[in-house]
């Protein structure tokens, strides 16, 4: 099983407006797959469909070889415990301290003892260089720190797939670079598959294995950067600033 996610003929609508129009794509194990496209192009919508926050109007989504769109909640929960998601603003639970946020999935889904959970939390927090934030509340963190805590929370359960929605938006270049390095490490050391929405050209060049380009709800390109260059598509040339 080489493909960890398989999407066939996905159609998404808000009310009557078609947002994703017949999207088909496969994401391979242990690759970094980047979702690109103009703002409002449907990138976030695609992510939310894959992780089941929204049910598609038509089409199928396979994760770990199981069709998930019509799966029962209990079964889908099992799938969810093997994936992590980093939301645009971090989406930390504001009423809980940093360590409680990271501990939450472990407390809820495992029978690990509290002291083990604490150790795991510390480990994840040092992976994202935030040991000193252990006892702070999310409101006491900067935007970049929040995203790193959210990343620690997303990898708390050692997921097989990680989804990111614009991880480097609003970060300074150095923090963004560190985040990219972290992402590459996750792929290399933990063998995680990463699905990332981003606009940052530098970041895409550093980390992308393959990309999908969404325009007005249609996938106008899927493949590697080299292939994109060869295909010579106007919209994508303009996005990367490539000359024809």
């Amino acid at each position: 099983m080489d493909n960890i996610i398989k999407i066939k003929n996905l159609v998404a609508k808000y009310d009557t407006k078609i947002i994703l129009d017949n999207i088909s794509l496969s994401i391979k194990k242990k690759e970094i797959f980047i979702i690109l496209g103009s703002s409002g192009g449907g990138k976030t919508t695609l992510l939310k469909h894959i992780i089941g926050l929204i049910k598609p109007v038509a089409g199928t989504i396979d994760i770990f070889g199981q069709e998930v769109t019509k799966m029962e909640d209990d079964k889908f929960d099992k799938v969810l415990t093997q994936i992590g998601m980093l939301f645009q603003g971090g989406a930390l639970i504001n009423s809980m301290k940093v360590w409680e946020n990271v501990a939450m999935p472990l407390e809820q889904h495992t029978k690990l003892l509290p002291n083990i959970i604490r150790d795991l939390v510390k480990h994840k927090l040092s992976l994202v260089n935030l040991e000193h934030a252990y006892n702070l509340y999310p409101s006491e963190l900067s935007g970049g720190m929040k995203k790193r805590v959210a990343l620690a929370r997303a990898i708390a359960m050692d997921p097989k797939i990680l989804f990111f929605d614009e991880p480097s938006a609003g970060l300074d270049p150095i923090t963004a670079l560190e985040l990219d390095e972290l992402i590459l490490e996750l792929k290399k050391n933990l063998g995680i598959t990463l699905v990332i929405v981003t606009h940052e050209l530098e970041s895409i060049k550093r980390i992308a294995d393959r990309i999908i380009y969404l325009q007005k709800g249609k996938a106008i390109f899927i493949g590697t950067l080299e292939e994109a260059r060869v295909e010579n598509i106007d919209e994508i040339n303009r996005f990367f600033g490539w000359n024809k």
Partner: protein, 354 residues
């Protein structure tokens, strides 16, 4: 800057935002006779976007212009950029509007009922199974909703009991029916004022807090984050509140009832000069179990209404931070309305002993 020569307004090479006011005033002097004036902009090379807007609209009103090349191209671009449809939303007539509102109301009611059913089922499960429920949250919520409301509930219940007795005592005294003050205060506190006052205070304190918390979690994607971690927000966030409220509100109500009667006791003893023993004996005689049942039934129903309405407005929040404010206010108004309506309905039912 410009000069006016007879029927011509002639600009030099610049036309800026600062010139517009006087230009428009001068133009008005020509009145409605549009063709009587010519505006010469042929030398204008420096101009603001606001100038483009003014000139563009004057051209459409058929004023006579001489334009520089640069202005012609810029105005064309400007006009094209503003030519999209402002609103795709359909403007509806008064009647259609009413129909839409009625439809909206019913769809809200439907979604409220569905949500309520879900919350009940998750809350019942949460009583028996700890998984998926935040640790220690029920205890924490009881403290927050129940314990912290004690002072204000005590004070208000006491004052209500006092005022109610004072007003009635003045009347009863005229008929020499002093002893009936005990009946009046005991029955009205236990079956009406106690449950209702407590519920209204708690709706203001905790119902609003529930709506604010959930709507904030909604707009910051915290609820989505919970779902992705395979945690159901209804179970994780709402169920503990539901359980805590079902425990807290009846307990608060018992206290409120007793404190309110104490207010009546003080009036009876001081103002009507009833002996404490007489008051006590009469009170115990009047206080049948069925009044207490009524009281508890009401307060349990109110507790559910407060949580369900707070959750409903929280989950259906629209927009950003100001949406949170609106959801919070709306939930308090709706909760108090629902409490008083339900109270009236139940009182009628009990009164006629259906």
């Amino acid at each position: 800057m410009y000069n006016i020569e007879n029927n011509k307004i002639i600009f030099d090479n610049s036309f800026l935002l600062t010139d517009i006011d006087s230009f428009i005033d001068d133009l008005k002097k020509y009145g409605t006779n549009i063709s009587s004036v010519q505006i010469d902009l042929s030398k204008v090379e420096t101009f603001d976007n606001s100038v483009l807007a003014v000139v563009n609209s004057l051209i459409k009103k058929k004023y006579q212009f001489l334009l520089s090349e640069k202005l012609i191209t810029e105005i064309k671009i400007f006009d094209k950029l503003i030519s999209f449809n402002e609103k795709e939303t359909v403007v509806t007539s008064g009647f259609e509007n009413l129909v839409l509102r009625v439809n909206d109301f019913f769809s809200q009611i439907t979604s409220f009922i569905v949500l309520s059913a879900d919350i009940f089922s998750y809350s019942i499960k949460a009583i028996f199974r700890k998984e998926g429920r935040r640790k220690g949250s029920i205890y924490e919520q009881i403290l927050l909703m129940g314990n912290n409301a004690v002072p204000i509930v005590f004070l208000l219940a006491f004052l209500i009991g006092l005022i109610l007795s004072l007003q009635s005592a003045a009347q009863l005294r005229q008929f020499g029916a002093n002893i009936y003050l005990v009946d009046l205060i005991v029955i009205s506190m236990i079956t009406e004022m106690g449950p209702m006052i407590t519920a209204i205070i708690v709706a203001g304190r905790s119902g609003s807090a529930i709506a604010a918390e959930i709507s904030t979690m909604q707009i910051t994607e915290e609820l989505d984050a919970l779902k992705v971690m395979a945690l159901n927000p209804l179970k994780y966030v709402v169920a503990p509140k539901m359980i805590a409220m079902t425990i807290s509100l009846p307990i608060l109500t018992v206290f409120a009832n007793i404190i309110g009667i104490l207010g009546g006791f003080i009036i009876a003893v001081i103002y009507l000069e009833l002996s404490p023993v007489v008051f006590f004996n009469r009170a115990v005689g009047v206080m049948t179990l069925s009044f207490w049942w009524q009281s508890m039934l009401k307060s349990v129903l109110f507790s559910w209404l407060i949580v369900l309405i707070g959750a409903h407005f929280g989950f259906n929040v629209k927009g950003g931070a100001e949406g949170v404010g609106k959801a919070t206010t709306a939930s308090v108004v709706a909760a108090i309305f629902a409490v008083i309506m339900t109270d009236a309905l139940l009182s009628i039912i009990f009164y006629f002993d259906f």
